[in-house]
């Protein structure tokens, strides 16, 4: 199969993070024992640019946990990539921000847990909210374009309007209101995170109204909660079509959640293979590329090149087989598994409604984070 040209690289440079958000999409059993070195990342960045990649997102974990982040940003700019930092901003002091700006950082996507400090800190499992507010002001003052990202779930979805107002007051150019997707820690905590149908309907109205009100001022992206949809999301614009993820230990993934969701797929490592070979030739990138792998009802579906059969990780997590149709699809023989989860929640008593979650923990073997003041 002829491989298309990739456009974006997600560089997950560490799994270490000072926050403990229970919806984190990182693997619950992450290995972080041998993070790629600065030189190894620099080589990966150059190889990605040679393949055609034009954008890089530095993510994690918390990418600021790595002292060499400005060096990696500089390497990416030298390779002509558009550089985006996806961050909690914990650890972003004046010196680091200056170093990042001087390295050529193009834009920052800052995560918030809520507009309300107490709730935000409870969700993050850390006192982080005020530091994020301070960081947002500094990023604006440094003249770097700012996007805000809110992960939406049952505990914060009723404050959607206030969260949008926070984005306005921080003068963000763009805000992403992303309903939680159930992978990694979020899958483990699904019973505590999934919003009710009533909440989802209300939130959609608020997002639609805000989009119209703020048109031309702030771009609002509302990511739908896919369990409540009838058709699956067009995950990754197709497997192995546009995106490459490299995780902290150098594994190359078609999707950031694939390593934990699809255990029977073997992922190549940049320490052993060239990125070009992995993208074009590897089993992991070719397994679900194109449409030949598709089962029915996808194979004969007119939507098959629109939604690509949905999400492979979701199929694996909910049906035990990554090659199945995403069970969110109403045509999937496994849709009942999604409906069952929704029915359990929407017909339940307030007790289940207040279900506890498990906070994300750092990988056991990860070095302790640098203390940031």
């Amino acid at each position: 199969m002829i491989a298309p040209r990739p456009y974006a690289l997600l560089a997950e440079i560490t799994y270490r993070c000072p926050l403990h958000c229970p919806y984190c999409s990182n693997p619950t059993q992450a290995r972080n024992d041998q993070e790629l070195t600065t030189n190894e990342w620099t080589r990966v960045i150059r190889e990605a640019a040679a393949l055609g990649v034009l954008q890089i997102g530095f993510s994690g974990g918390e990418p600021l946990a790595r002292p060499d982040l400005p060096d990696l940003v500089r390497a990416a700019r030298e390779a002509k990539l558009y550089t985006n930092l996806i961050t909690s901003a914990i650890g972003l002091d004046d010196d680091r921000l200056r170093a990042l700006r001087d390295a050529g950082l193009d834009s920052v996507q800052l995560s918030f847990q809520s507009d309300n400090a107490d709730l935000a800190d409870e969700i993050a499992g850390a006192r982080a909210h005020q530091r994020k507010l301070d960081a947002a002001a500094k990023i604006r003052a440094a003249g770097i374009p700012l996007s805000l990202n809110f992960v939406i779930h049952r505990r914060n979805i009723d404050r959607l309007l206030q969260m949008i107002e926070l984005a306005e007051s921080l003068q963000a150019e763009r805000v992403e209101l992303a309903n939680v997707q159930f992978y990694g820690w979020a899958f483990l905590n699904r019973a505590a995170l999934l919003p009710t149908r009533e909440q989802v309907v209300r939130a959609r109205e608020i997002a639609t109204a805000a989009k119209a009100r703020l048109a031309g001022k702030i771009d609002i992206f509302y990511v739908l909660p896919d369990y409540y949809e009838n058709r699956p999301k067009p995950c990754l614009s197709g497997w192995g079509q546009r995106y490459i993820t490299v995780n902290p230990i150098g594994e190359v993934l078609p999707c950031p959640t694939a390593s934990s969701a699809i255990p029977d797929l073997r992922f190549e490592n940049v320490r052993e293979r060239a990125l070009d070979w992995i993208w074009r030739e590897s089993e992991s990138f070719n397994r679900f590329r194109g449409t030949e792998w598709m089962p029915e009802p996808c194979q004969s579906c007119p939507q098959r090149e629109i939604d690509f059969g949905g999400c492979r990780c979701q199929a694996a997590l909910l049906t035990g087989n990554a090659a199945n149709t995403d069970p969110v699809c109403e045509l999937s023989p496994n849709r009942a598994r999604v409906d069952e989860v929704l029915r359990d929640l929407n017909s339940s008593t307030p007790k289940a409604f207040g279900a506890d979650w498990t906070y994300r923990m750092n990988p056991k073997n990860a070095a302790t984070l640098q203390q940031v003041t």
């Binding site: 456009y7 055609g52 985006n84 834009s107 374009p145 150019e173 763009r174 771009d219």
Partner: protein
């Protein structure tokens, strides 16, 4: 299609955070911005490489001098392209 009303004296410039560069894979121009990549058609490419402080009228005149095309059609084409880019917040008109 109706030509959008954009003043001839307006100065188009890239929005902060938007970068214009050559795609080494294709040799064509692309716009890079936080959400993604826009591959430019020839018209957009010709216009954007001239957004260096010049006004809309000056850009139209420069293109007319370079290419032997109908001035009225060219002007409509330029305004349409600028309006599209402005709607996507990729350029600002000052």
């Amino acid at each position: 299609m109706q030509t959008p009303t954009i003043a001839g004296s307006a100065q188009p410039k890239l929005t902060r955070g938007v970068r214009l560069q050559t795609d080494s894979k294709t040799g064509n121009s692309v716009l890079l911005f936080p959400e993604g990549v826009l591959e430019l058609n020839e018209t957009a490419q010709e216009i954007l490489t001239r957004c260096d402080g010049r006004t809309v009228s000056e850009i139209i005149q420069a293109l007319a001098d370079e290419y032997n095309v109908d001035l009225e059609m060219l002007a409509a084409d330029v305004r349409q392209t600028l309006a599209d880019l402005q709607r996507r917040k990729l350029i600002e008109l000052t």
